[in-house]
Symmetry: C2
Subunit: 201 residues, 2 copies
């Protein structure tokens, strides 16, 4: 029989477990962004998170589990943050929306995701999870983009217009990998925002 | 004194040396595309090219020299092939030009270049060469794109339009890394060709 006392004991334990999990996920993304797939092991991540190797393996039995969960967790956090930027949904300022969408593809999360994708292209045990993750994150990003741009996908070509915009954002992220591309990126975003204004109506 | 006999001896030797160099460069790109940076050593490439390790090191003293030279060599070959597709320069069929530009970012060369970029983002001894190489290849691709699209860069926004198109092409290449994205890519290219037709005039 469960008493109130038992429950009170259990809740903080669940909280601690959730906090440990979150610390591991954040450490995994930081590790992947800084050291790449080869330099990112469960041991290195556990150390960075201040968690024992055993506790890390309790949460994530394999290295693949840890890193796909990490990229997914941070992608979800970013989606939530992006929606929070435009609480009214479709925004009047399309350039601001496009700029915020492009920002999803710069910084440590994109860098971590890129390392994971590239590693998955050569490592069979990583490939299925990462392919599935990429598809899921891609669909979610597309949904947010359509909503914030106020794009009417029932009109011919609108779906492909938004897809191409997100492909451009991904390419801009790649262009930022080795050098700081901020200035050029701002000019490209300004021009493509003008083009989209004319296209999406 | 150089006699005609000496010269005749020397030319085939130079030819052999050039052929060896080319075999090494092609093997390096194939290796990088298939196994990634970690799995691509000078020994593996030399074996694949059917060249001794010593001969490989005579041509390319370091692993970094071999791989940056390899990506540059193939990028040049691709630029030449792209110009040859449209021997008249600016083409009437902009969709065909855009489609050919996007094709530069799919296939083994892009995959090899991507592995090299991602490795360079974590490896200090690779970073300067790759950064410089990426800038050079990027400028050359931009030049070809402007020429084949018949884009007038003196008009405001045209430069950024072409840059954004090449960023989109790079992003489409990345989307093709884990899954065959051919169908979606063709629809995005068709739609953006329509949009650019209106924008470039």
């Amino acid at each position: 029989m469960t008493t109130i006392g038992d429950r009170a004991d259990r809740v903080p334990k669940q909280d601690r477990s959730r906090a440990t999990r979150q610390r591991l996920l954040e450490a995994a993304v930081a590790c992947l962004a800084e050291h790449g797939w080869t330099g990112s092991t469960v041991t290195v991540v556990a150390e960075r998170a201040g968690v024992s190797r055993g506790a890390a393996q309790h949460h994530f039995p394999t290295r693949e589990d840890l890193f796909t969960a990490a990229v997914e967790y941070v992608a979800e956090e970013r989606s939530t943050a992006l929606r929070a930027l435009f609480p009214q949904g479709a925004a009047d300022d399309r350039r601001a929306v496009i700029s915020a969408l492009v920002d999803l593809y710069t910084g440590p999360l994109f860098r971590a995701a890129l390392h994971l994708w590239v590693a998955a292209s050569n490592e069979e045990q990583l490939r299925p999870q990462v392919t599935e993750l990429e598809a899921r994150v891609g669909r979610e990003t597309h949904r947010i983009a359509v909503e914030l741009l106020g794009a009417d996908e029932s009109r011919p070509g609108v779906r492909e217009t938004v897809q191409g915009l997100l492909d451009m954002a991904r390419g801009l992220g790649l262009a930022n990998l080795l050098t700081d591309d901020t200035g050029r990126r701002a000019r490209v975003v300004a021009q493509w925002a003008r083009i989209l204004e004319g296209t999406l109506g």
